[in-house]
Symmetry: none
Amino acid sequence: MTARKQRLNPRKQPIQNRSKVTVDAILLAATQVFEAHGYAAGTTNRIASQAGVSIGTLYQYFPSKEAIAVALLERHITDTDHRLHEWVGHMVVERHGLCEALHDYVAGMLEIHTRQPRLQHILLEETPLPERVHQALLEAEQNAAKTVAGLIRLYPEVRSSCLEHTCFVIFQTVESLTHRYAAHPDDQFIPRTTFVDEVVKMLMAYLTCDMPSMAG
Amino acid sequence: MTARKQRLNPRKQPIQNRSKVTVDAILLAATQVFEAHGYAAGTTNRIASQAGVSIGTLYQYFPSKEAIAVALLERHITDTDHRLHEWVGHMVVERHGLCEALHDYVAGMLEIHTRQPRLQHILLEETPLPERVHQALLEAEQNAAKTVAGLIRLYPEVRSSCLEHTCFVIFQTVESLTHRYAAHPDDQFIPRTTFVDEVVKMLMAYLTCDMPSMAG
Amino acid sequence: MTARKQRLNPRKQPIQNRSKVTVDAILLAATQVFEAHGYAAGTTNRIASQAGVSIGTLYQYFPSKEAIAVALLERHITDTDHRLHEWVGHMVVERHGLCEALHDYVAGMLEIHTRQPRLQHILLEETPLPERVHQALLEAEQNAAKTVAGLIRLYPEVRSSCLEHTCFVIFQTVESLTHRYAAHPDDQFIPRTTFVDEVVKMLMAYLTCDMPSMAG
Amino acid sequence: MTARKQRLNPRKQPIQNRSKVTVDAILLAATQVFEAHGYAAGTTNRIASQAGVSIGTLYQYFPSKEAIAVALLERHITDTDHRLHEWVGHMVVERHGLCEALHDYVAGMLEIHTRQPRLQHILLEETPLPERVHQALLEAEQNAAKTVAGLIRLYPEVRSSCLEHTCFVIFQTVESLTHRYAAHPDDQFIPRTTFVDEVVKMLMAYLTCDMPSMAG
DNA sequence: TATGAATGAGTCTTCATTCAT
DNA sequence: CATGAATGAAGACTCATTCAT
């Protein structure tokens, strides 16, 4: 079936794959270079040489430096979404308690951000992105909140007048706190495990404590 | 009365102020330019022309682009510190309840970050600052946490095994959540007042709910 | 024979040469520009356009303006060394007399300096060179003195208590006098050939006259 | 007599002197600054502040940076001329021998150039001077040669077919050799006193040895 | 298709000079 | 006359992007 195609294309790998490999190498290199130098100082030449391809080849696959950043961000969005769904699935299957679930979530996000502390900020703040990408990001965040809500809803101890809002806040809290901690680890002041525990405690309290919506 | 003296110094403003006015104009312009273009794309020429002075004048007052960023950050640290102390004083004098106090705090921070949504992150993340400035920032954050703790401690309903850690988390939560909301206002999804209320609710729960330090 | 291979590489010149041609063009242009404007006023843009390349290309081959000057100086050192050795070889083979030998030497140096009257001084005096380059130059001068001594020693009429010192003085005298004459040709006052003759006469007298080392 | 004038000008010093003091201060400062930083990097602001006057005052007395260099060069020419005549007078009065006279001359020039090793080169080579200044310099050099000739002629042991040419060469030799030695003291290789002795030896030989004008 | 030399607009920064006070 | 803040042209250098091979 693919044999005939192969004959027309007697390379070791099918064209599609070759491209994919190159694109992947470039994106990986871009991740590393941006992470290390920031967006402005992360030059396309550095990315190309880190990827092991020529600058010309890089521009064969991406029309501009910005396009690389956009691709990176799109990939990031997809990845995060995947992870989130995997986590939810895992929690459901394993029948973890709420507290364990939250702990898993917070620790997982902290780990991701620790591995690439700057990338997200670089893509979100330093890169001049087209509006549609920003929109995509917002949508992704709202979907994420919904996904989290889907899991949270399963726990009977949760009390919330509006689960959507609650979960939006939870998602944002975890995102921003773990990112911040990863970017500037104040390990001297508060150790990592304590930090995770405290955040989980806050989320648990928020979700389970009976509290009037405002004042009282 | 002062007319005669004025004649000896017919400047509109005393010399001291002239410099200060220029410096202020530059810093204000830098704020706007960085806010609009980021650090790397915020060129010194743009800052100068936005400030209404020549590029030469800019370099008379600041030896380098970095120096402008440092000045901006130092000013930001001082300002934040002032505001925080003012807030604490206000709360103590007015004998506000904990919930109102937190509401004030969150709303205040959100307002600050709304006015300059990107600046803080730009200074913190995009600008290659000398180590001592980073240290100063960390110190400032820890002091802020202590200041918050000083106020929180006055409320008998607060339950916390370690107030220092708790307040550190609270400070970071408010900082990062308000900044995030200001930077990418998801107004469509969750309105501003609701957002503030939810955050306050979370903080209240965290501070007052009796909850084992971990698991249970 | 090589025709088929050539077709695989249809460039007018092999790659290696292309770079070399460019580098040479830049160095030649730098020589002319420094010669005409001095080091400080010899801008890299001027050098580039004189070389017929873009400023970007210039910086592809030399990391800084200083690097160009260093390259120029190194080339100069090598060239001078070559010429000196050639001259010595020539003298030995041709069995010239001392007077003719000195005449050749002086006339040769005068010619070199006439072609580039300012360059040497510019490189030595106006350019802030790294220490190792200065060291290299000193070494080169001392080697030159030794080379001269190697030849001088062959002439039995030479009387000198310390040939090393004598030849050092001779080398410096020829260097500085010919350079000075070339830089500010006082042709009106003393014609070129007379100048050379007089210098040779002085050197001959210095080398051959019996004279007490001091006073007497 | 001058009293009446004084009353019209009740300053501590007459106007003329005040100006002169300021001009002198500027020229002295320029000497030091050029010596330390070269012409291009010797900024007018640095000169002014070194002179203890404002940049505005500097431009009240000199219309441009170049004018300062010209004034410096003119002063240098005058000074050198003075020194030369003093030396000649001294030699004549003291009835020194030729050898001592030359020794005095060489040692004196070496001392001058040692005190300001770069200044002369800076003025002559780095500064883009108007043609008339170059002419003045040439004239000064030729006058100097004549002055030297005037002294040399008094010594009966001197043999020279053309004293003018001989003395021109002598003047240039001493100028360039001492300047070169002062600029790059190769003390390690040849000590200062030895250097002076050798140069004197060469000059003595040149002046007193009977030698055919060329070849032989 | 891959390559990488070449391009040049744009960046930060300096400094001679002016002019209002 | 003295001052020094302000000016802006110009210089060294970078880097996204193109195109001939």
